[in-house]
């Protein structure tokens, strides 16, 4: 039981990363039916830009960990968001009506970002600052670090904020309308390209947020860090029902927890085998994903 609870805590932490990244996949898919293969690398760029901001602030003798982290998040999220828009403008927008070419273009964007990081930063692992080793809480034999609480809670806050943007604002209403019928949205005076670009911006900021927190959690980052986690977050989005925002959150946490439990009861080397085996079973039983009930529902 202790193992299960401890792995639940770890799983919810990693699941926060999956959920934040999965949201970017699911929003873009919901709106333009594109699997944005570069999204995992957008997350990696977010982690690197966060690291650069930390470095810059150290040069400026700003040492307060909370202040530097907040600044690191803001700078990284802003720049990564703009990068997401740029990727859309350059790699996807000219190919929106070429279904296969756009997929290849997505792979090209992914590799460009990965090896861009390789060349600009480093081919090896880079070390993140160690800022939050507050012990957090111990409940019996289960330990929860302060950083884990921060990741989980701030992740949930961001997910809730995204939900409010999509359901309570005018631009969110335009996003949902566009997901239902793009031409009808144009006839209402909605500039489709602007709304899609904004969707890329929002998804990329969430990925950057996850990237910075990943750096703080694991202490190291590498130019290929987005590849596997991107695949997993994409899996989480499909598991929850691709195009469905709450589904991406549920899928992300579920995948994180399944992996955690598999690591706890078998071994960490088996976690991917067990977790993905279970995912295959779930998808075979529910091909539309857990929350993807209505075929037409996309946002």
């Amino acid at each position: 039981m202790t193992v299960a609870l401890q792995q639940l805590v770890n799983g919810l932490t990693v699941g926060s990363f999956y959920a934040l990244i999965a949201l970017g996949y699911t929003m873009v898919y919901g709106i333009i039916r594109l699997i944005n293969f570069a999204h995992g690398d957008i997350y990696a760029v977010g982690a690197f830009l966060g690291l650069s901001t930390y470095g810059l602030l150290r040069l400026l003798h700003v040492d307060n960990p909370i202040l530097t982290t907040l600044l690191g998040l803001v700078v990284s999220m802003g720049c990564t968001g703009l990068l997401g828009m740029l990727v859309y403008r350059v790699a996807y927008r000219p190919l929106l009506h070429a279904r296969l070419s756009i997929l290849i273009s997505a792979i090209g964007a992914s590799l460009t970002l990965e090896y861009g990081l390789f060349l600009i930063y480093s081919p090896s692992f880079l070390v993140y600052p160690h800022l939050f080793d507050t012990p957090g809480m111990s409940l019996g034999d289960i330990s929860v670090s302060g950083l884990q609480i921060i990741i989980f809670v701030s992740g949930l806050v961001l997910m809730a904020a995204l939900y409010l943007i999509v359901h309570r604002t005018k631009i969110g209403m335009a996003m949902r309308a566009l997901a239902i019928n793009q031409d009808a949205a144009r006839l209402m005076g909605i500039d489709v390209n602007r709304v899609v670009a904004l969707t890329f911006f929002l998804g990329s900021t969430l990925a950057a947020f996850a990237g910075v927190l990943t750096g703080l959690y694991y202490s190291q980052i590498s130019f290929l860090m987005g590849f596997l986690i991107g695949l997993k977050a994409f899996t989480a989005a499909v598991l929850g029902g691709i195009g469905n925002i709450p589904g991406a959150v549920v899928g992300g946490f579920l995948l994180g927890v399944l992996e955690g439990l598999a690591a706890g009861y078998f071994s960490s080397r088996w976690k991917d085998v067990v977790a993905f085996g279970i995912l295959i079973v779930i998808l075979v039983v529910r091909p539309r994903g857990l929350l993807g009930e209505r075929v037409v529902e996309r946002m």
Partner: protein, 242 residues
């Protein structure tokens, strides 16, 4: 001056040309009907005018501005709104959200436009909070027109507004279109129900195979033998069998 002028419009889907150079005019305040068989190019004409399709050649002028190279979302803002065939309502969103999307280009939802829409379609007021996809066919058509009116158009393009509706609802929709026109909105309507369209419109154009075959005042076209046979289903010569 004409509110809408279409000159030698050619539109193609890939290598297949659907419009071979049509020209038509709509004066401010008129109702003009566009008639024709399936595949004659009526829907293509409306989609090209509203900017959903790019013409291969030709010109479209609206209120003195050339619009054939402008994106659809820009054209709406000039006051030309298209209610497409099949309604295209946002089925998973509420009636209220659909109407608010009609006013997307404006900083806030204009109360006057909302009041007018609810006066024309009181049924929609009762169903404001309902998800649009659960409305009946007639209510969905009302919503499609109401949503278009929220853009406060000078010219309304209506594509088959009576399609699939019961006769009583067809009458209601046609009456409402006349009322919208009396309030000052110009209308260009594509309608399969040719007799209703000719009664509603002052003038009409008949499209055949992507060309304008006939045009003139509705009263004249309603008497035209070719129109009567092809679109009104009357006047066909009876022949003894055998």
């Amino acid at each position: 001056m004409n509110l809408l002028e279409v000159r030698n419009l050619v539109t193609a889907y890939g290598s297949i040309e659907a419009l071979h150079g049509i020209s038509l005019d709509v004066a401010d305040g008129e109702i003009v009907a566009l008639l024709g068989a399936n595949g004659a190019g009526k829907t293509t004409a409306l989609r090209t005018i509203s900017g959903l399709l790019r013409p291969r050649s030709g010109e479209v002028w609206f209120a003195g501005a050339r619009i054939d190279r402008r994106p659809a979302h820009d054209i709406v803002r000039l006051g030309l709104t298209h209610v497409p065939e099949g309604r295209w309502i946002f089925s998973l969103m509420t009636v209220d959200e659909n109407l608010r999307l009609g006013a997307y280009a404006e900083p806030r939802v204009p109360q006057a436009a909302l009041d007018r829409v609810f006066t024309l379609f009181p049924r929609l007021r009762e169903r404001r909070a309902q998800v649009a996809g659960t409305l009946s066919g007639g209510e969905q058509q009302m919503l499609a027109i109401a949503r278009a009116l929220m853009t406060r158009p000078r010219l309304l393009l209506l594509d088959e507004p009576s399609m699939g509706l019961a006769p009583v609802l067809v009458r209601l929709i046609i009456q409402t279109i006349a009322e919208i026109n009396r309030d000052g909105t110009t209308v260009l309507i594509v309608e399969q129900n040719a007799s209703a369209a000719l009664r509603l419109a002052r003038r009409a154009y008949v499209l055949e195979n992507g060309r304008v075959a006939l045009e003139g005042p509705s009263a004249d076209l309603a008497k035209n033998e070719r129109v009567r046979q092809a679109y009104l289903g009357v006047g066909a010569p009876l022949r003894a069998q055998g």
